[in-house]
């Protein structure tokens, strides 16, 4: 069987730094190939080279056994090689339909055939079970919907080789199922598929063969059937990561750190009340779109909200994030790209932006900033090819680590973490969980919003489940099961707010 697309001894440097040291991968038609590895291992770079977005510094790209040099992504696309980017590649101020057909508009005579495009966009999205209106502007739709639009856009392109860079990072279980259905369909049609994910169970579920990368080199290649999840993880990280979630070392404190009563965020959350104890890790579960993000944004003053908030027993009024921060409460956004980091600026500037005051004594103490960056790099294992790199050029996972480091620099007593491990490799996940536990052990209180049930179950002392802007119920650590949470999230089982 000849490979449809193949990389031979591909190297790639950015400036002085080489990030790929000779990669060989072959994609066969009708097969799903997994590319896994740590954050910054070079997966996205490899995929961009395959699809013409980047040129290899040396080595060959072969299509149907013939060496090709794609001048650009258009040339690759014309050959049927399509990439779904890890970071959204959509024009914010255009609509869903305009984005799907961007660059390949359907025309009737000199004019756009809008009706046909709308119908086809609708059909594509329906195939993905995505109900976002085709006229909505990208800026106004949710992250999961954006991902589905990306996928629809790729499907519209009639790919022979479909390369997907972490498509499931922002999707829910249901949407992942839909996507996998489509992948199966394409596979049956003989499309070669390359797939990346940090969720190894997904790799086991849909992939046939796999390549494992570490530090810009291939460390293992073979059939997925030959690997257990733990074996994959160990090959990626170079150590055993089977015990992902640490055990609770210090008991939850008794004091109430945060009391929320009747918090309403118009249009998103309605009359929400809960308590957060000192040293507690509170999980906030729910389906995507249940309003968890908006609720917490309302809590920290990023959105208009009404309700009563008490911190450490005192009534407080929070109108902007800086008010919350002054009270020791910080929120870490789920959207690192457009809300979390300044992509064109360096790591140092991003790290200290949130609490620049602490580094300023008349003037900014750059030396102290550099020290903080050195500490953050060590503590969160941020891997960057150079210290002065623009944050937009970091790998996705390393951006996420930097974002966590940025919030933690403010040393909040109450920290709300929205999707903390989105796009993070399994080794680093373990480190982040340990870090969260260490925070709790030090008496700080944490709210973790996560769409991964396992994460809530593994991490939280107690979980609240949200649906349609309301708290549907509370699950204690002892009886936390995936089924219990899902039933609440889907509204299949009503339950009175428990101990809170």
């Amino acid at each position: 069987m000849t490979a449809l697309l193949e990389l031979r001894a591909v190297r790639r440097s950015f400036g002085q730094v080489e990030v790929l040291h000779g990669i060989d991968i072959a994609l066969a038609p009708g097969e799903v190939h997994a590319l896994i590895g740590e954050n910054g291992a070079g997966k996205s770079t490899t995929m961009k080279i395959m699809s013409g977005y980047l040129a290899p510094t040396s080595g060959q790209v072969l299509l149907d056994g013939v060496p090709v040099t794609h001048a650009d992504s258009q040339a690759a696309e014309a050959q049927g090689v399509v990439l779904i980017h890890q970071e959204f590649n959509l024009a914010d101020r255009l609509t869903v339909e305009q984005n799907i057909f961007l660059g390949r508009e359907k025309k009737r005579g000199p004019f756009l055939d809008k009706a046909a495009m709308r119908a086809e966009a609708r059909a594509l999205l329906d195939r993905l079970d995505c109900r976002v209106p085709v006229d909505a502007r990208i800026a106004d739709i949710s992250n999961p919907d954006k991902q589905m639009v990306e996928i629809a856009k790729a499907l519209q392109r009639d790919a022979r080789v479909l390369i997907m860079d972490e498509p499931t990072a922002v999707l829910t279980t249901h949407e992942v199922d839909v996507l996998f259905g489509q992948i199966a369909r394409l596979k049956a049609a003989g499309v070669a598929i390359l797939f990346t994910s940090h969720k190894l169970d997904e790799v086991r579920r849909i992939c046939d063969s796999l390549t494992i990368m570490r530090d810009g080199a291939v460390v293992a290649q073979g059939r997925v059937a030959d690997y257990t999840e733990d074996a994959m993880a160990e090959a990626m990280v170079g150590r055993d990561v089977s015990s992902l979630y640490p055990a609770r070392a210090v008991p939850v404190g008794s004091g109430i750190a945060l009391r929320v009563q009747g918090l309403t965020v118009p249009g998103f959350a309605d009359d929400v009340s809960f308590d957060l104890r000192q040293g507690e890790i509170l999980g906030l579960a729910g389906l995507i779109g249940s309003g968890r993000t908006e609720l917490m944004e309302g809590l920290v003053g990023l959105r208009a909200a009404t309700g009563r908030i008490q911190i450490a027993g005192r009534d407080v009024s929070i109108r902007a994030p800086r008010d919350a921060q002054a009270l020791g409460m910080c929120y870490l956004t789920e959207d690192r790209k457009s809300r979390g980091l300044l992509l064109s600026q360096g790591m140092r500037e991003n790290l200290t932006l949130q609490c620049l005051g602490d580094f300023t004594n008349w003037l900014i103490d750059t030396r102290a900033e550099e020290q903080a960056l050195t500490r953050a790099i060590a503590e969160f294992d941020i891997r960057a090819p150079s210290r002065g790199i623009a944050v937009g050029n970091l790998s996705g996972g390393n951006q996420q680590k930097l974002l966590i480091a940025k919030i933690m620099l403010a040393e909040p007593d109450i920290v709300i973490i929205d999707e903390p491990t989105r796009g993070i490799d399994i080794g680093t996940k373990q480190q982040i969980y340990e870090f969260i536990h260490a925070l709790a052990a030090a008496g700080r209180s944490i709210i973790v919003i996560s769409s991964e049930m396992q994460e809530i179950i593994g991490l939280a002392d107690r979980a609240l489940v949200m649906r349609s802007g309301r708290i549907m119920g509370e699950v204690a650590r002892a009886d936390m099961t995936e089924e219990r949470i899902v039933r609440l999230a889907m509204g299949l089982q009503a339950e009175h707010a428990g101990t809170g």
């Binding site: 992504s73 024009a91 756009l112 944004e297």
Partner: protein, 330 residues
């Protein structure tokens, strides 16, 4: 509740759409109350005809701004093209005689010069990758200088016989609608159609919204950008064809500040200065608002003429208050 459902939450009148229209309606009302002749056919024809210059240019500017660009040179460019057109016509007069062939030669000059001027701006901005603000500030100075130099510091005037011949291009019309109004309307309609119904309009918006995404989506970003400038240059040429018959002369003070007026009209009309979204009909409304302000100031006494600029400024700001963006959330 899925986000899809959330988006369909009831229809509210969108101020960003209604805003400019409301402002225009308010101005018409004020004008009508101040002076009985305001709504007379004569006055309306005057106002619309003279809006045509800025209007035609502003339609092109809408595309440039939508695709994330800017052009400060249009006023000087118009002056230069007008001067060139007059020079060419005067030079050809002995050969072609004062007739329509000469007029057509003049028009061709204007269109060709506009196309070239647009190409130069576009080339420097796209291929040479220089900031549009700087390129067009530079060419603004260059064209202004050139027209002063061509006119030797004075005025370039069209031969008088020829002037009488082409006067109808501005002053006459079809069915009582003057040519500038007709041309402006045609340009606006074409512009609106291209913006909304042609691939080019979409591509311009995509380039202005995020040029990287556009590039990754097989849009030839440089070509789109270049085309917007060429398109604007051609429209400047067309505006000049309307302008020369009106005054029959060009000098260093021709077209001064047209660029600011055109940009202001575009923004008053709801196009985003940072690019990514453009609205041609809004631009037309913006142009009308600006022309009406001038007209209304001429209808009334009692205000020191020194303060005209202040009143204009206040009205421009008020017109835009109506359509400001929603407070950012989330």
């Amino acid at each position: 509740m899925s986000s899809a459902e959330r988006l369909e939450r009831g229809w509210r009148p969108d101020l960003r759409v209604l805003g400019p229209l409301l402002a225009l309606a308010a101005l018409v009302l004020i004008g009508a109350l101040l002076n009985g002749n305001f709504l007379s056919a004569g006055n309306i024809t005057n106002v619309l005809s003279r809006s045509a210059f800025i209007g035609i240019i502003a339609v092109g500017m809408t595309f440039v701004i939508t695709s994330g660009g800017l052009d400060l040179s249009v006023g000087s460019m118009a002056a230069f093209i007008a001067g060139l057109m007059i020079l060419v016509m005067n030079a050809l007069l002995p050969v072609l005689g004062a007739g329509w062939p000469l007029a057509i030669a003049g028009m061709a000059t204007a269109i060709v010069a506009g196309t070239l001027a647009g190409m130069i701006n576009g080339f420097l901005i796209t291929t040479m990758r220089i900031e549009a603000f700087i390129v067009t500030l530079g060419t603004m100075g260059i064209y202004r200088s050139l027209v002063t130099w061509l006119a030797d510091g004075g005025t370039l005037s069209l031969d008088f016989g020829m002037r009488t011949l082409i006067r109808p291009i501005y002053f006459n019309g079809i069915l009582g609608i003057s040519f500038p109004i007709i041309v402006f309307a045609l340009v606006a309609i074409c512009g609106e159609v291209v913006m909304r119904r042609a691939a080019f309009g979409r591509h311009a918006a995509a380039v202005g919204s995020n040029d990287r995404v556009a590039r990754y989506s097989s849009v030839d970003v440089n070509r789109v950008r270049l085309t917007t400038y060429v398109f604007l240059g051609i429209l400047v040429g067309i505006a000049t064809i309307m302008y020369v018959p009106r005054l029959g002369a060009a000098s260093s003070s021709t077209g001064v500040l047209w660029e600011l007026e055109a940009i202001a009209a575009v923004i008053i009309g709801g196009t985003m200065l940072k690019g990514g979204f453009g609205r041609v009909w809004g631009t037309v409304v913006g142009v009308l608002i600006l022309s009406l302000i001038d007209n209304i100031l001429n209808l009334t006494d009692g205000v020191s003429p020194y303060l005209n600029g202040a009143i204009q400024g206040v009205i421009i700001i008020l017109a835009v208050i109506l359509q400001r963006e929603k407070r950012a959330e989330g």
